[in-house]
Amino acid sequence: MNITLKYFSWIRVKLKKSHDLIELNQTISFKELKNNLISKDPVFQEIFEDKSIKYFLNLTEIDDDNQTLNNGDILAFLPPVTGG
């Protein structure tokens, strides 16, 4: 299964990319994905420790780390917004 990660603002700048396509063999929880990403790149440690960042799964904010991610899901990393 595939999950698309979308990065915005300073996260995009820091990672030097706007998105990633993650391929997995089975469904995974948001918490498991976090650990997965940290093990691949320690910069994610910093990101996940920043409590100001919000995570949106298919345009809805994630409020439970145990939420399951499914094939085709889009997970967005959102630093505090600064529009207007």
Binding site: S52, L59, T82, G83
Partner: protein
């Protein structure tokens, strides 16, 4: 009406979209690119606006609906620009239309306050040395939003 666009827009043209003989009061908020930064002494030559467009449209739509129902507006238009903008250029326009002045004004302020803290736009300052600097969210904007909690549920 909600628009997320690169191009500049004309105030008279946008007003015509929401104009109707049954209104009587229109409140506009227009945000533009400032040359002087309150937070630092740095000079900027413009800004860059990043957006998660699908999400921003959904968030703006929710804010707009809330404003229309809470203040019984006849219309509400929101335009937000993205991409590179020069000093003085328009960034955001909110127009609320009502038969009652106080309602139009209050609803317009609610929309821009909500947009500032709840919609997926990110600003970068384009510095004189060609660097991009991430703009940080203002605590003031979050605090200002708290006042609406008592008014809107």
């Amino acid at each position: 009406m909600i628009k997320i666009i690169n191009d500049n827009f004309d105030l008279e043209t946008e007003f015509k979209f929401v104009s109707s003989n049954t209104n009587g009061a229109y409140s506009f908020f227009l945000g533009t690119v400032r040359s002087d930064l309150s937070s630092s002494n740095k000079k900027i030559k413009g800004i860059y606006l990043e957006c998660y467009e699908e999400l921003a449209l959904a968030q703006l739509s929710k804010i707009r609906s809330k404003a229309i129902s809470s203040w019984k507006l006849n219309e509400c238009l929101i335009i937000h620009r993205i991409g590179k903008l020069d000093l003085g250029e328009k960034i955001v326009l909110v127009i609320t239309a009502s038969s009652h002045r106080a309602k139009a004004i209050e609803a317009c302020e609610f929309v821009i306050d909500s947009l500032k803290i709840d919609v997926a736009f990110w600003k970068f300052h384009l510095l004189d040395n060609d660097e991009k600097e991430t703009v940080l969210q203002k605590n003031l904007d979050n605090e200002k939003m708290l006042k609406w909690k008592d008014i809107i549920n």
